[in-house]
C-alpha cells in the first residue's frame, strides 16, 4: 500500500507481524487446563442413558436397582429437572413464522432422536455412573420416525415432534421479479440438483461441563468448554432462576469449537440442575460416541438450482430451491434456520447479476439437530453457484476463469448490494482471481492437463469465488430477540510494575484470539507485547460481550482492544504530562517509555508512572487524574456485516478405475482486510480448507431409514487426515473496512466457504472426458464410480 504511514503502521508495529502465540508452549507442554482436567472437592460425574429410538414415547422408567448401586448419588429424569429449569424454544423473531417444539433438559414424554439423553445418573466415578445406566430399564413405545425430507412435508405426514403442527420449521422466499421470463429468454440455462451430506465438527476436545452449585451463597459456577460464556451466563440465570450476578461461567482452555460449542445442549443444561439437586459439583464430558449423537450436525441440504446466461456469457439470473433438514427441533438460542437463510442469501454473491429467486424450506425430522458450524451456509451457496458457473462456461464453450472474469463484481463497483440485499462495502474479486491465476500457474496447469489426458491421466482443476460474512452487527441475533451481544468490552489496566492487563470478552479456542488482542494492545500503547497479559473466558473477570462466533474476534474484539488501548494511552500520556510538566500532545509512548514525540528522547518509563500513580500519588499535582484502568465497549456501526471475499483453486487427480481422488494442491487468495497476524490468518485459512475438503471427500453422518446414525465413531466417520491433505498455498489481498480504525475483517470461515466448491468443480473437470458429472458431496469412490457408470 502506498498510503502514508498511519497509526497502525508505526515503526516496529505488531500489527501485520507473524508473532507466535504466547499460549502455544504451555499447551504443547501439556500444561493446558481443559474442563476435563479440572477436579473440584466432592465432585461427582454424570452419565446419560440415551434413547435407542429415533422417535418414541417414554412409557416408564425403572431406576430402582440403579439407585442402589455402588457410588450412585442421584438418578434424575426429565420430570425431576423440569421442576428446576424452565423450557426453551429455538426461534428468533425476525424469522417470521418460524416454529419449534419446546425443549427441556431431559424429555418428559417423548424422545425425538436416537441418542437423545433420557435419564441422568450421577455417581462418584463415571464408570459407576455407566454401570448404573446399564441397570435402568426404560420402556419406550416406538413412534414413526420422520427421516425423508420430502415425505416430511407431505400433507398428513407423521410429525417429528408432538408439539408441532407440521414438519415445516421455517420457510422463506426471495424474488426480484420476472425470473421465469428471464429464463425463458436466456441463451443458456444450466441446472442441477445438489446434495450436501450432514457432517459435524469433531472437535479435538469434546463438549465438557462442570457445574458447581453453592446453595450457601445461591451461586452457580460453571466451567464450560464454550465459545460464548456470557450467553450461557444469561441462559443459566434465566432458565434456573438465579440472579445473573450469581452465575459465573468460566471457559478455560478449549480444544476447538468451530461453532459447535455455542449451542444449548440438553446434557449441559441438565448438569446444572444435577449439581443443584446433589449440592455438589457435577462433571460431564461427552465421549466421542456421545459427541456424534448429540453435538450439532450441519449442512444436510438438497438444492435444486438453475442459472441463466446470455449469448455474451453474462449471467442473468439464478433460481434456487433449498430444502434443509434440521432435526426434530430448532437449536436454542441461535436456531437452526440461519444456515438455510445464509444459503439463499449468499448464493451467487460474488457475481454482478441482478435477478434472483429462492425458496427455502427448513424441515423437521428425527435426527440430531443441525445448527451453526464453521462457515454457516457458505459452502452450500458457494458450491451450487460455482458449479453452475462451471456448467455455464462449458455450455458456452468458455474457460471457467474467463467466465468468472466477466461476471465477478468489478473492483471499482463498490459500494453495492447483492440481489438478496447484502450490502458490500469494498471487495476485491477480480484482483483476487487474477492473483489466483498467477499463483496456480493456471494456463500451464491446463496445458499439462491436456497432455496428461492423452496418457490416460485424469486431472481436474476447480475454481470457486466466495464471499464471507464477518463482523456481524445486532442484525444477526439481537434484532431477533436473542440475548446475544454483538458488542465487545475490554478493561485495560496498567499494573503497579508497568505491565498491562487486558480483560476482554472475546474468547480463545485455539485460533489465537489472545495473541492478536495482545498484539493490538501492545501496538497501540507502545509497549512490548510480552508485557501485555490477555485474560478471556470468565464472566466474573471480563466485561460482557459477544465472545467468539461468526468471525468477529479480530474485527470487533480487535477494534474494542484498539479503542481501549488508545483511551488508556491518552490517560497515561496525560498523567506523564502532569508529572513532567509537559503537554500530552508532545509526548508519545515507545517500548514502554514515554518519549518526546519529536526527537524520541526518553522522559519517563511506564513503570515509573505506575509507581508514582499507585504508591506516591501524594507527589502528583492536585488536579492530576491517575486513571490507569479504562473500560471500553465497541459495537459495529455502519455496515451490518463486514463482507470479505476470496477465491480458491483445487487440483485433483481422479483414478477413474477406482473412483479414488488424490488432491494434488489447493490455493487460496483471500481478502480479510487488515491482517493482524499473517501466521494466524494462514492457519485459519488452512484449517478451514481442510474442513472444506473433509466435507468434499470424507465427512458424512449417515443415517438408515429408521433414523439411526450408522457411522458414529471415528473409525467410520472419516475426518480429513494429514496424509490425504495437499499443500495449501495462500496469498492475500488487503482491503480494510473503513468502518473501524483497525480495518480488520474475519478470516476464520474463508477456507471452509469455498474449498468443497473448488473440489467439486475440480472432480467434475477431471470427469468431463467421460461425459460424467457429480453434484453430491462427499464425493466418495462409490459415488464417483456410479457417476462414471462403472458400477
Amino acid at each position: 500500500m502506498n498510503a502514508p504511514l498511519g497509526a497502525l503502521d508505526r515503526p516496529n508495529s505488531y500489527i501485520g507481524r507473524s508473532v507466535s502465540r504466547p499460549n502455544a508452549k504451555r499447551l504443547l507442554a501439556g500444561k493446558g487446563r481443559y474442563v476435563t482436567d479440572l477436579v473440584l472437592p466432592r465432585m461427582l460425574h454424570a452419565a446419560f442413558l440415551r434413547s435407542p429410538y429415533a422417535h418414541a414415547r417414554i412409557v416408564s422408567i425403572d431406576a430402582g436397582e440403579a439407585r442402589a448401586m455402588p457410588g450412585v448419588r442421584l438418578v434424575a429424569t426429565g420430570a425431576d429437572l423440569a421442576k428446576l429449569c424452565t423450557p426453551w424454544v429455538g426461534t428468533l423473531d425476525h424469522f417470521k413464522g418460524m416454529k419449534s417444539a419446546q425443549q427441556l433438559p431431559l424429555p418428559v414424554e417423548e424422545v425425538l432422536w436416537s441418542g437423545q439423553a433420557v435419564v441422568a445418573i450421577v455417581a462418584e466415578t463415571r464408570a459407576q455412573a455407566e454401570d448404573a445406566a446399564e441397570a435402568i430399564v426404560v420402556e419406550f413405545e416406538e413412534l414413526p420416525a420422520v427421516v425423508d425430507i420430502d415425505a416430511a412435508r407431505e400433507a398428513g405426514a407423521d410429525r417429528a415432534a408432538s408439539g408441532i403442527a407440521d414438519n415445516l420449521c421455517f420457510a422463506s422466499r426471495l424474488d426480484t421479479g420476472g425470473i421465469d421470463e428471464i429464463f425463458a429468454g436466456a441463451a443458456h440455462v444450466v441446472e442441477e440438483e445438489f446434495h450436501f451430506g450432514r457432517h459435524t465438527a469433531v472437535t479435538l476436545e469434546p463438549r465438557a461441563i462442570l457445574a458447581d452449585w453453592d446453595a450457601s451463597e445461591g451461586k452457580l459456577t460453571v466451567h464450560h468448554a464454550t465459545q460464548t460464556p456470557y450467553q450461557f451466563q444469561d441462559l443459566y440465570s434465566r432458565h434456573y432462576g438465579i440472579p445473573e450476578a450469581n452465575v459465573r461461567v468460566v471457559a478455560p482452555d478449549i480444544g476447538g469449537s468451530f461453532g459447535m460449542k455455542l449451542h444449548v445442549y440438553h446434557e449441559d443444561m441438565a448438569v446444572v440442575g444435577l449439581s443443584m439437586l446433589c449440592g455438589r459439583p457435577v462433571k460431564f464430558v461427552a465421549d466421542r460416541l456421545e459427541a456424534f449423537v448429540s453435538d450439532i450436525h450441519a449442512r444436510d441440504h438438497r438444492v435444486r438450482a438453475r442459472m441463466a446466461m446470455d449469448t455474451e456469457g453474462m449471467i442473468l439470473a439464478m433460481d434456487v430451491d433449498d430444502v434443509t433438514a434440521i432435526g426434530a427441533f430448532s437449536t436454542y438460542p441461535r436456531t437452526s434456520a440461519v444456515e438455510g437463510n445464509q444459503v439463499i442469501r449468499l448464493m451467487g454473491a460474488p457475481y454482478s447479476f441482478r435477478n434472483y429467486r429462492a425458496e427455502l424450506s427448513v424441515v423437521f425430522q428425527n435426527k440430531v439437530q443441525t445448527s451453526q458450524y464453521r462457515a454457516v451456509g457458505h459452502p452450500i451457496a458457494c458450491a451450487v453457484a460455482e458449479r453452475l458457473v462451471d456448467m455455464a462456461a462449458a455450455r458456452a464453450g468458455l474457460d471457467p476463469v474467463s467466465l468468472r472474469e466477466k461476471n465477478l463484481i468489478a473492483d471499482d463497483a463498490y459500494p453495492c448490494e447483492s440481489p438478496t440485499g447484502y450490502k458490500f462495502e469494498a471487495l476485491s474479486h477480480r484482483k483476487s482471481l487474477a492473483r489466483l491465476k498467477a499463483l496456480m500457474g493456471y494456463d500451464a496447469l491446463r496445458a499439462e492437463q491436456a497432455a496428461l489426458r492423452e496418457r490416460g491421466i485424469h486431472r481436474g482443476i476447480g475454481i470457486a469465488s466466495f464471499v464471507e460474512i464477518s463482523n456481524p452487527s445486532p442484525a444477526f441475533y439481537g434484532i431477533g430477540g436473542a440475548r446475544i451481544s454483538a458488542q465487545d468490552g475490554a478493561v485495560l489496566a496498567v499494573t503497579p510494575s508497568g505491565d498491562v492487563r487486558c480483560q476482554i470478552s472475546v474468547t480463545e479456542q485455539g485460533q489465537g484470539t489472545e495473541t492478536i488482542i495482545g498484539q493490538i494492545v501492545a501496538d497501540q500503547l507502545g509497549i512490548a507485547r510480552e508485557r501485555v497479559r490477555v485474560i478471556t473466558g470468565d464472566t466474573e473477570n471480563t466485561p460482557h460481550g459477544g465472545a467468539t462466533w461468526a468471525c468477529r474476534g479480530a474485527g470487533i474484539g480487535g477494534e474494542t482492544a484498539l479503542q481501549a488501548a488508545r483511551k488508556l494511552r491518552e490517560n497515561v500520556l496525560g498523567l506523564a504530562a502532569a508529572i513532567l510538566q509537559a503537554r500530552p500532545g508532545d509526548l508519545d509512548m515507545r517500548d514502554g517509555v514515554v518519549v518526546d514525540v519529536l526527537n524520541g528522547a526518553e522522559r519517563v518509563s511506564l513503570a515509573e508512572i505506575a509507581r508514582i500513580a499507585y504508591f506516591r500519588s501524594d507527589t502528583l499535582p492536585k488536579d492530576a487524574s491517575a486513571q490507569l484502568t479504562v473500560a471500553h465497549h465497541y459495537a459495529p456501526q455502519g455496515y451490518p456485516f463486514a463482507f470479505t471475499n476470496g477465491v480458491q483453486g483445487c487440483h485433483v487427480e481422479l483414478d477413474a478405475e477406482t473412483g479414488f481422488v488424490k488432491i494434488l494442491k489447493h490455493w487460496v487468495v483471500e481478502d480479510c482486510g487488515r491482517i493482524i497476524n499473517p501466521l494466524l490468518v494462514d492457519e485459519q485459512v488452512r484449517g478451514g480448507v481442510v474442513q472444506g475438503l473433509g466435507a468434499a471427500f470424507f465427512e458424512e453422518c449417515r443415517y438408515d431409514e429408521n433414523g439411526q446414525l450408522t457411522n458414529g465413531s471415528l473409525a467410520d466417520y472419516l475426518v480429513p487426515m494429514a496424509c490425504e491433505m495437499p499443500d495449501i498455498v495462500i496469498a492475500h489481498i488487503e482491503t480494510p473496512t473503513a468502518d473501524t480504525a483497525l480495518g480488520a475483517k474475519g478470516c476464520g470461515e474463508a477456507g471452509t466457504a469455498a474449498a468443497s466448491a473448488a473440489a467439486l468443480n475440480a472432480v467434475n473437470d477431471a470427469m468431463s472426458p467421460f461425459g460424467a458429472s457429480i453434484a453430491q458431496i462427499p464425493m466418495t469412490p462409490t459415488r464417483l464410480l456410479k457417476a462414471l457408470g462403472t458400477i
Binding site: 463415571r126 454401570d131 477406482t658 449417515r702 487426515m721 469412490p781 462409490t782 462403472t790 458400477i791
Partner: protein
C-alpha cells in the same frame, strides 16, 4: 465410555496363562497389544471378568528361522513385521503389508498374534497368513498343535482357537529365490480399514508361474483365498492375458457383502482392479 470392572492377572509363562484362563472359565480374555480389545472394553462391547495380560510371557516373543520355516512369536509387534531382518528376508510379504496396518502408534503396540487370533476379515495379517500358507501354533491344556491357515479362519471372528487356548506362534514357509510377492490395498485414508486389500505370492522358477497364492481382505466374513484366480495363473506365463483371466476368475472366488456404502459389485470391481495392478507390477518386475 468406561470399561466395566475386571480383574487382571499377568502370567510369566504360557502354562500360567492357560491356568489363569482355566480358573476364570469363559469370563476371561487374553490381552496382548490391546489395540482391538481395549476399545471394545471401553465401548462395553466386551466385558470380560478377568483380563490375562500375556505381554510379559517371554516364550511368545522372538523371530527365528530353521531354514525351512520362519517362526514368528505371537507377541511380535506390527512394527517388527516391517523392521525385523528375518521377516524381511524370509517373509517379505509381511514387511510389505505392515505399513498399511493402521497407524504407527497402533503398530508399535499391536501384535501379529493378536491380529491373527482376532481374525478381523478387514485386517492385513490374517489374510497374509493365507497368502503365505502359514501354520498357527496353538497351545492348550493338551499341549500344542499346528493348524494350517486354510483351516484356521472359519467364520467372522471365528478361528480354530478353542476357548482358553492361546496362539503362541505363526510359522511361515521361508520364501525362496523363485518367490515373488506383492501387497496393496485401497483404503479411503492411509491407515483405514481397506475397502479391499490383496497379497500375492508367486513361485516362478522360470518364466512360468509354478504356483500362485492370492489372498484378499475386506471381501467377506473371513480373509479369502482366490483359488480360481490362482488356477488361472498356474502354469502360465505372467502376461496380460493371464492377468486378465485371473481378474475375471475372481467372480468365482469372491462374493462380497452388499451394503449401500460399498456395494458388492464395487468391492468385486476394486478387487479385480487391485489384482490386475499387483500382477501387472510383478510382470513389469519379472
Amino acid at each position: 465410555m468406561k470399561a466395566r470392572a475386571f480383574s487382571y492377572v499377568r502370567p510369566a509363562t504360557v502354562a500360567e496363562a492357560l491356568l489363569a484362563f482355566a480358573e476364570a472359565g469363559e469370563g476371561a480374555s487374553y490381552i496382548a497389544g490391546g489395540q482391538s480389545l481395549v476399545p471394545a472394553l471401553a465401548l462395553r462391547l466386551q466385558a470380560p471378568e478377568r483380563l490375562i495380560d500375556i505381554a510379559h510371557v517371554a516364550e511368545l516373543r522372538g523371530v527365528s528361522c530353521d531354514g525351512e520355516w520362519l517362526r514368528i512369536g505371537a507377541l511380535t509387534r506390527h512394527a517388527d513385521a516391517h523392521d525385523d531382518p528375518l521377516i524381511a528376508r524370509y517373509a517379505p510379504l509381511l514387511a510389505l503389508a505392515a505399513p498399511h496396518v493402521a497407524h504407527p502408534a497402533i503398530r508399535n503396540r499391536g501384535t501379529l498374534g493378536g491380529s491373527v487370533a482376532l481374525a478381523d476379515p478387514a485386517s492385513e495379517f490374517p489374510a497374509m497368513m493365507l497368502a503365505l500358507d502359514a501354520e498357527m501354533e496353538i497351545a492348550g491344556s493338551a499341549g500344542t498343535r499346528r493348524v494350517p491357515a486354510t483351516a484356521f479362519f472359519q467364520d467372522l471372528y471365528q478361528t480354530a482357537i478353542e476357548p482358553g487356548e492361546l496362539l503362541v506362534a505363526l510359522h511361515v514357509p521361508v520364501a525362496r529365490a523363485e518367490h515373488r510377492c506383492a501387497f496393496d490395498e485401497f483404503a479411503r485414508r492411509r491407515g483405514d480399514y481397506a475397502l479391499v486389500g490383496c497379497g500375492v505370492m508367486l513361485a516362478m522358477p522360470g518364466d512360468v508361474v509354478a504356483e500362485a497364492r492370492i489372498a484378499f481382505l475386506s471381501v467377506g466374513s473371513t480373509p479369502m483365498r482366490a483359488r480360481a484366480a490362482e488356477a488361472a495363473l498356474a502354469g502360465q506365463a505372467l502376461d496380460a492375458e493371464a492377468i486378465r483371466r485371473a481378474q475375471a476368475a475372481l467372480a468365482d472366488d469372491l462374493d462380497p457383502p452388499d451394503d449401500e456404502q460399498v456395494p458388492a459389485a464395487m468391492r468385486l470391481h476394486l478387487a479385480r482392479v487391485l489384482l490386475g495392478r499387483l500382477l501387472g507390477r510383478m510382470e513389469m518386475a519379472s
